[in-house]
Symmetry: C2
């Protein structure tokens, strides 16, 4: 069983898998290689070769774990957390110095196409829209478990078949804690709101629309921008123009434009940077937050968004040691290139 551990200094939690303790060091690091492009259990017709489905958008009348689906959610075969025990919070060491929880949580895979598509930029718009619908659906469902505090939705592209299935998919990890980067955003947005009674993201959007310098795309409902202090070259964010804290509240008809703008941003990024490894992460509100003994949902002081992070430059090491980034192109230049780029 895996374990959640908190670093006492940074406050960052991580997951350690305590299985395979007797393996060789390289055994920890070499990840599964058994899946081959030609032999893909994520393809339609191979449903019985994956863990059972927990949700799917399917043709009316088709049965779970059979063909007929458009987007299919399964438990991860290599899940880093699971629900098969009670949540146990535990201090370890003398005087319970270190904080841990057992590896309680949910790790799901969202298979975003029944066909063997291997690049996210090749997903049809309709499949992207349906995947967003599925994220909403899963987040709403996972939220019902009151022990879970956050559902992190993310997708990776181009990290190679040694660490990931090639068939397009994204992942949802729901945990009894809020990841540090989200917690930092929430706390910063909260103090801004308390001081000004305004959402910091809304102010950023207003500022960026006014200057136009870092705007990549501006639709009716969403804008795409290159963040003012981007960590990576050609990093972008998609935000709803109107204040909205919770991604699951986006009405179904709002997902069309989101799918369009998402696909277009991905395609331009892929084209400009010559198909770099990239990932995207959905930042939305936690399921519930504790407030003076009550559990509240957040309404006014957060603003959901999607981060798209290409990794065209190899990491150079110091990012890890200082949480400090050197990003050669200015976000203004990145935005200009992206605005002017044709889609792939």
């Amino acid at each position: 069983m895996s374990e959640l551990r908190k670093d006492p200094i940074s406050g960052r939690w991580m997951i350690t898998a305590t299985r395979n303790e007797t393996d060789t060091p390289s055994g920890f690091i070499t990840v599964r290689k058994e899946e081959r492009e030609r032999d893909c259990p994520f393809c339609e017709g191979r449903e019985l070769e994956t863990p059972p489905e927990v949700f799917a958008l399917r043709k009316e009348g088709s049965k779970p774990n059979t063909p007929g689906w458009a987007v299919r959610v399964i438990a991860s075969k290599y899940g880093v957390v699971a629900l098969n025990e009670e949540l146990e919070r535990k201090g370890v060491g003398d005087f319970f110095f270190f904080d841990t929880m057992n590896g309680y949580g949910i790790h799901e895979i969202v298979i975003e196409s029944p066909l063997h598509i291997t690049h996210i930029s090749e997903l049809p718009l309709e499949q992207i829209r349906k995947s967003f619908l599925v994220y909403q659906n899963r987040l709403r469902e996972l939220k019902k478990n009151l022990l879970l505090k956050y559902g992190l939705v993310f997708g990776n592209q181009g990290y190679g078949k040694e660490i990931s299935m090639l068939h397009v998919h994204s992942q949802i990890i729901a945990l009894p804690l809020i990841p540090k980067s989200i917690k930092d955003e929430l706390s910063s947005a909260k103090s801004y709101y308390e001081e000004k009674e305004r959402c910091i993201f809304c102010d950023i959007i207003k500022q960026e629309l006014y200057s136009q310098e870092r705007i990549v795309n501006a639709g009716d409902r969403y804008i795409v921008l290159a963040p003012f202090a981007s960590r990576f070259p050609f990093e972008t964010q998609i935000l709803p123009r109107k204040h909205e804290c919770d991604f699951t509240n986006v009405p179904e008809d709002g997902l069309w434009e989101l799918a369009e703008i998402f696909k277009s941003t991905i395609m331009k990024t892929v084209k400009l940077l010559n198909d770099p490894p990239l990932n995207f992460v959905l930042h939305t509100v936690p399921f519930m937050v504790p407030e003076a003994g009550f559990w509240l949902t957040i309404r006014d002081d957060y603003h959901w968004h999607i981060e798209i992070l290409p990794h065209a430059m190899p990491a150079r090491g110091f990012e890890w040691g200082g949480d400090f980034y050197i990003n050669p192109p200015s976000p203004e230049a990145a935005a200009r290139f992206l605005r002017e780029a044709e889609e792939k």
Copy 2:
């Protein structure tokens, strides 16, 4: 000129280089390739082909920028910051919404051997000890510039010749701000100290020496441990056993054991993980900290240490989006493998 920019939400600063605005996107990303292994300006005898030296440990009587040095410090040819202007803090956008500074600072390269050694694990002990001496010397010197708040010392190994010179070297970046990861550590250590009148790092050392589970090496003056919530497989930290906040206060005779324990940890890591890319970062106190209008140095509530971060597993993307890490081997297993490993 480059620019320092603060992300308004995370509080993280980054450096953007605003030159080359008219380049192609790939121009931003492809880094210098002109240096070749056989043609190395970092080697002894090629001193005039580098930027002028700012400091060197040299044979008595030998002149700057000539042979006869053991460790040599030069300004980075590709420096991301420079001192050639005044420090200018500036809000940009309407109502000065975004915080910036111009790219004020110092970026130096510490060439750690006059011979063409290309792997940090092959550096002789004496050269490692001398490099530590040089870090101390440079940090003491840079501290005299009261506009600079932090000097980050770090080294990278194995990231490939496309992004780095092969000849062993480390880097010092001194800036008018404190990197976020250090700031987070300082603030966490400070609140712990205020509550308990004890250093959190000292308590961690005590706990780890008691349990022994995550101890990799314990010398007279230093210990090496696998942090309880390690982000990366086989990540380690070297800490002085006795409380010491400032690396520049380590007496010269204390650097021998540090060099030994550093070299041994690097060699074991390289051997166990089959020569992974790795980097190390020195975390020490800021030059000065503001406190109620005064500038103070920190004494009791920080503890310098060196982080050694191997990157044997490729990044999988979600680390960037959630500041959340999944690290398969437990730190206890990593510590055991490292304890038992022979040096390369």
